[in-house]
Structure formats: structure tokens, C-alpha cells
Amino acid sequence: MRERIEDALKQHTADFVEIRIEETKSTGITYRGKDLEEVGTTTQLGGNVRAAVNGGWGFVSFNRIVDLREKVSQAVSQARLVGNEKTELVEVPPVQDVVQVSMQRDPWEVSLAEKKQLMDSYVEEIWRTPKIQTSTVHYGDGYRKQYYGNSTGTYIEQERGRVFARFGVVARDNGNVQQSRAGFASSEDYGVVEGRHADVREAAEKAVDMLDAQPPKGGEFMVILDSTLAGVFAHEAFGHLSEADHVYENDKLREIMVLGRTFGGKFLNITDSGEVRGLTGSFAYDDEGVPTGKQYLIRDGELVGRLHSRETAGKMNEAPTGNARAQSYSVPPLVRMRNTAIEPGETPLEDMLAEVKDGVYCKNWYGGQTSMEMFTFSCMEAYAIRDGKLAEPLRGVNLSGNVFTTLENIVAVGNDFAWDPAGGTCGKGGQSAPVGDGSPHVLISKCLVGGQ
């Protein structure tokens, strides 16, 4: 493959050309209720050529890996039709590397029968709990080998792995239907999905517990987020605004997002890293052949950095960060987060609780969304807090805030820390990417709660 890619890159008249070929193999096992619904494997082979000429981009994707040279000239001529300015890409030293996936326990060495047996045991565990109406259990693993070469002389062969299990439980009491979920994911160890019976039982019990929960009152409240939810908060409330593709061509937003601006208290630190071992948002090189790393976004409350592709870093005159990621060979990369986290602070959870007279303790998440300025995310589990004590359970708690004020409203950051064991999937521009979110508990003085 190396020869074919390097040969195809030899003659062109573009400012930049890259070729990315990918082979993927994945397995999925899905149960609905007590029954196994689907077992399947998928094999994919495909590739793309992307070219930049005078600031314009051309992109060609295909399944048949033939005539790469012709695909290069097609991408180049498309780019030429678009470009009438200057291609500004940040300089990245060329790299030659081979990155092999190193699995602690390799899912590809575990038989389908064994995987199924393990999932069977989780299904049984869920159904031991009374009042369960239905459940979904999904196991998946994936392997991707990528061949990447570009016109700066970089050539990388990179393998990536992923294994995960997700559990959704629905409890019902007459017309009242509640749900709960749990998940576990790793980039390098099948072991992460083994021995999860206690976690699965807990998820089933939570769904049943939520049958007694009441909807919240609407309005502004003091809230405590647990580490899983606070990680999603970091992702939605700040991470997306740090993606430089939202900022680099919007002069007014650039003025607001100027490095050095204060976003929160001195105790607030937010990072995005591709280097945390085992997390599904980690990798050695991004989909533009740029080495990954760890980027501080907020340090001591101040904006100190953002997430870049070759182009956004070039145009903003900032250092590359390795955040260009593509869902697959069929689409061009976008600026994406990797593993985003609020770093631990000093406040124990008990001290946070003691601060709250009338508020909400929010745990775990269903989802989150942002419009840059405003964001919202939904909690899986929530409890009212009264006079510093946890009170009745609440259901359907969605929180919402404004990026420019809510971070300032973080009044304490916990002295604990955890990555979300489920890993996350982030959607942007029609593409999904595995990401990680992590945080300690955080206390927010004012957060908008949607109520009934």
C-alpha cells in the first residue's frame, strides 16, 4: 500500500494532497428484551484523496482502491475550481511511523460464542430485577487499519481498536415508564466488558427506583454535577466552542474567544487529550497525520488554547494540536474533541452539599447538545437537595446554560476525578466520533432547570 500511495502522491500541482485508505472490521451483538436480536459482522474497505489549492479543498472518496493517481488529479482539479486565495496550513514535521494496536486482551481472539455467553449472563442479571419491562444489551468491537500519506512526506500506518458494551433498562409501573443505562468502553482491552454483573444490576435497580421520581420544578437552581455529567458539561459547555473551525473565520467570535480571556475561577482547568491510555478518544495521529497530544483549553480560569486542524492552526497562527478526525474514509476530517476533562480541584463532595439549601444533585447523562452560546444536557438520575441533604429523586432533569456565564458560575471543583466508563459518541456535521469525558464533582451556583 505504501508504494501505491507514495507513487500516487508524486506528481501533482496542489499545495497539499493526502491519501487515506482504511480497512475496518466490526462485530455487533444486540439483545432486545431477553432475546438475542442480531449478530453481525461488517467488513469495510475504502479510501479518499483530499487536496488543497489556493485555499480551496477537493475531496474524492471511493470503495474501489484503483487508479489512485487519477483520484489525486480529480481532487486537485476540484480544489482548483474552488480556490482563489492562499492555502494556509500549519507546518507539521513529516513523520514516518507504524502504530500497532496493543491489546491487553484482544477481542479478536475471543470467540463469538464466548462473547455471546458473556452478554447472555448480563441479560439474565438484568431480568432478575422485578418491574423490568424491557432491556437492550449491545456488544460491539471494531478494528481499523489506516494507511495515510501526504505531500509533505508523512506516511503513517496506524491501527486502532475499540470494544464496548452498553446496557439500557426500561422499568414500567402501569403508564409510568422509566429508564436507566450503563456502558463500558476501551480502546485496548476486552477485559473492560467482563465482570460487569454488579454494574448491570445497579442500572436495572436505578430504572426501577426512577419510577418513584417526580418531575422537577423549573427555574434557576444551585446544582451539583457528578463526575460523569460534569465531563459532558465540559464537552458541551466549553469543548465545542474551543473547536477552532467554529471560530477561525468569524472575526467577532475571535474577539470574544481571545486567548487570555477569563472564563471561570482560578480553580478551573479544562483539557483535551488524545493520550489517555485505553480511552476511546485516544490515538497516536489524527486523520491529517498530525501527532496527538494534550491541550489545555482553560488554565487557572483563563482561555489558553483551542483545538485545531492543519488549516485552522495555519490561519490562526497557532500550534497544531492533532484534533482533525473523520468518521470514516468516506468523509473529510473535522475539528473534533478527543478526551475532554475538568481537572480535579480541592473541594470534597460533602462540603459542596453543605453549601446547597435548595438545589439538585445530577448524575450521569442521556445526551447533550450545544449551539455554541447555549447548551443543554440531560441527567439520567437526579435528587433534590434540601438544606445540604439529598432528598427525593427527580426524573427528566434537563439542564441548560449559557457558555459565557455558566462557567463563571462554577463555584467549586471537587477533589475526586473519574472518566466516564461508557465513553461517549459526539456528533458534528453529520459525523460521529468516539470521545471521552471526565471530571470531578462540580458545584454550579446558578443553572437553568427545565421543569413542568
Binding site: E23, S26, R32, D35, L36, E38, V39, G40, T41, T42, T43, Q44, G46, G56, W57, G58, F59, V60, S61, N63, Q78, A79, V82, E85, L112, A113, K116, Q133, T134, V170, R172, V177, Q178, Q179, P215, E249, N250, L253, I256, S330, V331, Y366, Q369, T370, S371, M372, E373, M374, F375, T376, S378, R395, G396, N398, S400, N402, L448, G450, G451, Q452
Partner: protein, 440 residues
């Protein structure tokens, strides 16, 4: 290739079904007021479903050009059948190709220059309205071929053309960001940049001034897009035969009962010419139809694929939809909400003393869809005061229960429109919902 694969599969399975798709797509994009990229995407893939020893097996591959690739696909389907679910259905033996019009040669004939012209016109119209607009525009054409054949001779083949034009604008004033977008899509070469730009401009003008809202209950008017973002997802899930079969649908034992306001009727219709959700058959070869889901507030039909219908003892409804690498599951084609007698959007606004319009509720579909509870940030919405729009509402949440809301409909508009391609609905005025907002 489809016949060859079926031949190979029949050697190791009782029943086999091959689904081949290929498509070419030409998307172009403008970013920050200038042209940014031209993409050309080709894709093809083959899905194989088999029944072996009464069990379902499945495989999918895009690696099809080398000798042995088809054998590998058969092998993976056979392996998965060892563990697969017991098949509870018979595949159709009818080959259906006629019916709905979803191919327009004029779309296939669109050149790169035509697409650039579509995008440029939309961009110019927006920029001429307000040069502060920071615009992104995307135009695209796609032509796809689908061939479905099973070992009973049933299946379909069709060609579909899709053209789309989407635009969004950003206005940044200090820390106030306004993003407004509109997206139009059709199987026919009929997209009008003027119409797309006008929709965006009206929304921007309605949102330019800041409205004031307080935390309390009030009437909420959902535009078609707002309706899709906040109230439809719980219903889509509850009316799926799969949710019903599991007993997780709040509607599972309500078939034939009145659950919603009598003004509400909803259909799933895969027979609408030029609509992107239409095709001759579903992904299992069952001809598409117009299925009443809710009529005059009564729950009429749940939607099914073959296997789910078999398990539930229900009639298949032609709703077996699949992403290429998974088994068919109940899926909608074009969801249509019947118009009411409430008049135009402006007429509906005129009926409200104090309330809000919701154009898009961000995150409202993220919670517990089973219960119908929703709670979303009003990403784009306006205050209504004395029958008139009174500025943009932001930092505000709208929350409630979709079932309760759709039982308490004040009026349904008379003018439906497409929102996002496969949802066709009029605006709906819900009499009373909780609105929460930031204080000061």
C-alpha cells in the same frame, strides 16, 4: 453480483436475501461567505441476510472487488446465523418496481456549475439582505441505485435522485450569537434558493430584537421544525412495533383508543412522489403504503418490519428499514401531520395573548422518550404578546409531556410544510406548557 451472491448463499442456507446499494454524491460547500470545497463521494456495499437452520444470519461488506470477497461475506453471515434469532417471517416472492416517482433525470443532469450557481444565488440573496451575515451554504446531488433480491424471487430495484440546498447564517453581537438555518431537499430538481433565503431572513428579522419572558405556564406555538424537535420523537418511538412488542410503549395497550386531541391525525406515507422518504418497497421488498398512525386522536396502527410483525402476530406495514450493516427494524418513511383549521402561522400567533413560538428546541429529545417527558432549550423562538411577535426568547427552556401536550391542542394550522425532508406538518399551538428562564 446480487444473483452470484444469492447462488453462493443458497448452498449453505435455506433462504437468502441480498441488498446492494451504490451511490454517487456531489456535495459542495461555502463557508464564511466563500466557496470552500467540492467533494465527490462514491460508495457501494452489499448486505446479505440468510436463514439457516431457522436462524437469521447477517453480513455486510464494501470490499467486493476481489475474488473470494463474496465467499467471505457468505461465511460471515453463516457464522452469525449460528447465534442468530429464530426467523418468524417469510420473505415476499413479488418483485415490485413501480409506484412512486423518486428519480428525476434533471437531478442526475445537474452539473457542478449548476450546484455552484444554486449555492451562490442563496449566498448572494442572504448577503444582499444583510452584509453582516456570516453564511455557510451547502448544495448537493446524489443518485443511488438499490437492488434487493431474495431467493423466492421477491425484491425491488430502483433509482433515486436527491438534490438538497441548505444555508445557515450567524450574527454575532458581543456575546449574543444568533444562528438560523433552513434546509430543503427533494427528489426533483425544484429547489429555489429564493425560498430558502426568505425562510432564513424572516426568522432572523423575527429574532433581531430581544423579547422578555418569565418563568410560568403559557401557550406554546410549535412551527413544523419546532414540532419535530420537541414533540414527535416520543410518538415515533411509541408507535414503533418494536417498542410495542417489548411493552415499553405507553401506547401498547391503547390501539383503537382516543389518546390525543381529536384534531390530531398522523400518517406514515412512503408513496409521496418526489419525497426523499419514498420508494417502491421497504428494505425487505414489501410495497410502501400510507399508514394511518393516529386519526382524529385515535391510535390506529403501529409500524412493523417482517420479523417484528412475526413476533407480535401483527400485519407487516412495509416499514422494514435498515442501515446497510444491520437487520431491518421498524422505520418511518415520510411522517405527515394532517393540517387543521387554524389558518396560517400568523393567524395562530394572532390568537395568543401571551406565549412563545418554538422554532427549534435543542436537546428536547435527549431524555426519557418512553415517558414522553421532554425538556429543551429554546435555541430559536420568539415571544408573543397580544397576538404579535415581540422579539427573540433565549436562555429559556420549554418542558412538558408530549402526550399531555398533544391532548391539549388549542389549534392546528392549515398550512403544512416540509421540515428536514421527511416530516411534513403544519404548526401546532399547544394550550399550556411550562416555560422556565434565567432570572436577570
Amino acid at each position: 453480483m446480487v444473483e452470484e451472491l444469492l447462488e453462493k448463499a443458497k448452498q449453505s442456507a435455506e433462504v437468502a436475501e441480498a441488498l446492494y446499494h451504490e451511490s454517487t454524491e456531489l456535495p459542495i460547500s461555502f463557508e464564511a461567505n466563500r466557496m470552500k470545497s467540492i467533494n465527490a463521494r462514491e460508495s457501494s456495499g452489499m448486505a446479505l441476510r440468510i436463514i439457516k437452520d431457522g436462524r437469521i444470519g447477517l453480513g455486510y461488506s464494501t470490499k467486493l472487488s476481489e475474488p473470494g470477497d463474496l465467499d467471505a461475506l457468505v461465511e460471515s453471515a453463516v457464522e452469525s446465523a449460528q447465534f442468530g434469532a429464530e426467523a418468524k417471517f417469510a420473505l415476499p416472492s413479488t418483485y415490485t418496481t413501480n409506484g412512486v416517482t423518486i428519480f428525476d433525470p434533471a437531478v442526475e443532469a445537474l452539473t457542478l456549475d449548476n450546484l455552484v450557481a444554486l449555492g451562490t444565488e442563496a449566498l448572494d440573496l442572504l448577503r444582499n439582505h444583510d452584509e453582516e451575515f456570516l453564511c455557510d451554504v451547502g448544495a448537493s446531488k446524489r443518485v443511488s441505485n438499490v437492488r434487493l433480491l431474495n431467493s423466492h424471487g421477491g425484491g425491488t430495484e430502483y433509482r433515486k435522485s436527491v438534490v438538497s440546498l441548505g444555508a445557515s447564517i450567524n450574527l454575532t453581537r458581543g456575546e449574543d450569537l444568533l444562528d438560523v438555518w433552513h434546509y430543503a431537499v427533494s427528489c426533483r430538481a425544484e429547489l429555489e434558493p429564493q425560498a430558502v433565503a426568505q425562510r432564513i431572513i424572516r426568522r432572523v428579522e423575527d429574532a433581531r430584537r430581544q423579547g422578555t419572558v418569565r418563568t410560568k405556564h403559557m401557550p406554546v406555538l410549535f412551527t413544523p421544525q419546532g414540532l419535530g424537535s420537541a414533540l414527535m420523537l416520543p410518538l415515533r418511538q411509541a408507535l414503533s412495533g418494536k417498542t410495542v412488542l417489548e411493552g415499553a410503549s405507553p401506547l401498547s395497550d391503547r390501539l383503537g383508543e382516543q389518546v390525543f386531541d381529536e384534531k390530531l391525525s398522523i400518517y406514515d406515507d412512503g408513496t409521496i412522489d418526489h419525497a426523499v422518504g419514498s420508494s417502491p418497497t421497504d428494505d425487505e421488498g414489501i410495497p410502501l403504503q400510507r399508514t394511518p398512525l393516529v386519526e382524529n386522536g385515535y391510535v390506529r396502527t403501529f409500524i412493523y418490519d417482517l420479523q417484528t410483525a412475526g413476533l407480535a402476530g401483527a400485519e407487516p406495514t412495509g416499514n422494514g428499514e435498515r442501515s446497510p450493516n444491520s437487520l431491518p427494524a421498524p422505520g418511518y418513511h415520510n411522517v405527515v401531520v394532517a393540517p387543521g383549521s387554524g389558518g396560517s402561522l400568523d393567524d395562530l400567533i394572532g390568537d395568543v395573548d401571551e406565549g412563545i413560538v418554538v422554532e427549534y428546541a435543542m436537546g428536547a429529545s435527549m431524555g426519557n422518550l418512553f415517558s414522553g417527558d421532554f425538556s429543551g432549550n429554546v435555541h430559536l423562538g420568539y415571544k408573543i404578546e397580544n397576538g404579535k411577535l415581540a422579539g427573540r426568547v433565549k436562555d429559556t427552556m420549554v418542558a412538558g409531556n408530549a402526550y399531555a401536550a398533544l391532548k391539549n391542542i388549542a389549534a392546528i394550522g392549515s398550512e403544512p410544510e416540509w421540515a428536514g425532508g421527511s416530516f411534513y406538518a403544519p404548526p401546532i399551538l399547544v394550550a399550556d406548557l411550562s416555560v422556565s428562564t434565567r432570572e436577570g
